[in-house]
Amino acid sequence: MDLVRLRGVGKRYGAGPWVLEGVDLRVAANEVVAITGTNGSGKSTLLRILVGLSRPSAGEVLARPASVGYVPERFPAKERMTAIAYLRHMGRVRGLSTSESDAGAHALLDRLALVGGATTPLRALSKGNAQKVALAQALLPRPKLLVLDEPWSGLDVSAHGVLAELLAEVAGDGGAVVFTDHRESVVRATASAAYRIDGGRLGAWRDGGQVATVDLVAAAEREQVDWPGLPGVLRADHGVGSVMVVVEGKHCDELLVTAIRSGWSVAGVRRAAPSAGEVR
């Protein structure tokens, strides 16, 4: 089922040039979609249309869930309000009770390790910590659609892992995530589908980011297989009695058949490239 559906969406400001043109996008539940593109390519405009802040000048938004979380690229916290008070208010605006809101906010801020604690005024937070508050408000309560603009760039490195976990939780809970980033490594590690905006048009990113990582475990009686020689295989990393093969998405099934016939057991298949920590 599509949680989000845009058809022929275009955007221009006044009589200016088209910032976006003919964008068709469908995002299903459990999907994590990356949108890449250079600065000023229309990424942020597309996100503003996705969350309902901006109305398309052409085309239409056919589907959008009621519960949407939005994390902008920067969070300009100039307020005296404390982080916890701000989150409490935002939670209540989204229909939570005060106690639910407080509990959820504390849990999120603990996970994100907000420096200075929940009672720090927003204006006293550093850029990275303000971004954590921005992330927390979008997840309070957990939305059906989470939209993030360059979420990794503002956040401290220590919170990157938590961010990836949070995105996976939203997608795993039947929601959808759409984020922008310009780094290939991030897109490969996180997204289940990826698109590229160029000159206001949305196109596939490589093969739609369709790379699969296959973890294979050796059975007792196995044949030797020349993994890198198989069609579509980008890389094969051998471990002790196991192998991790990165393969183009369209050749994934073929690889699995070959592996099973040769006496290997499939331990896992992911529609994503391996994260940096797994590369041996």
Partner: protein, 217 residues
């Protein structure tokens, strides 16, 4: 909506931008009513005129309190940008009404007595000023006029047109009725259609602001 109004109110209070217009209003209301007048109706006209100016300023302060990016987050959480605008109007109108009550009570305290219908007319005049002030302040907020310098010019032009045009069925005829100290029954009765016009102007200005913000967004 209640949670949103609470947030907008608290945010406006914490920004302290409300302070200059509120202080100006309180001082103006006290100075203007210390002329030794023994009829209360003309004093209501003076406090209502002060309220018109100050509620315009206060409204701009409320709408411009949040940074645009933060306002975008609030709008997504509230479900639409329109709701945030509406909450701002509710907060501005509520605060202006409270100031209006002061503008009603203080002259009463100075003069010491008033016919109930005169008091009603005074209340209607204060409300009318609040409606028109919030209306002008709303179309002069950042959503329509992004630069504060131009916003001040627009607000002054709006206030001059609304306050000094005898042909506009808004605050000017109301102030004149009060200054003339017309009979209480006539006062209270003549204010009602003006009050309705004021409410219409507020709805119209809110709709214009929403339309402009949507076009820009």
């Amino acid at each position: 909506m209640t949670a949103l109004v609470r947030y907008v109110l608290l945010d406006s209070l914490q920004s302290q931008r409300y302070f200059p217009p509120v202080a100006l209003y309180l001082v103006a209301a006290m100075v203007l009513t210390s002329s030794g007048e023994d009829a209360v109706a003309p004093l209501f006209a003076l406090t209502a005129a002060a309220l018109l100016v100050c509620s315009t300023w206060l409204t701009v302060a409320v709408h411009n309190s949040e940074d645009p990016v933060q306002r975008a987050i609030t709008a997504v959480n509230a479900g639409s940008p329109r709701r945030v605008l509406l909450a701002g109007i509710v907060v501005a109108l509520g605060s202006s009404a409270v100031l209006g009550l002061f503008g009603l009570a203080y002259p009463l305290l100075v003069v010491g007595h008033a016919a109930p219908l005169t008091l009603l007319a005074g209340l209607e005049a204060e409300l009318l000023s609040a409606f028109v002030g919030v209306a002008i302040g709303t179309v002069c907020c950042r959503l329509v006029v992004p630069r504060i310098g131009y916003a001040v010019i627009c607000a002054v032009v709006g206030l001059v047109i609304a306050g000094l045009s005898p042909w506009l069925p808004l605050v000017h005829p109301a102030f004149q009725l009060l200054v003339r100290d017309a009979p209480p029954a006539e006062l209270a009765g003549s204010m009602l259609p003006l009050l309705a016009c004021g409410a219409l102007v507020l709805v119209g200005c809110g709709a214009v602001t929403e339309a402009v913000a949507r076009r820009r967004g």
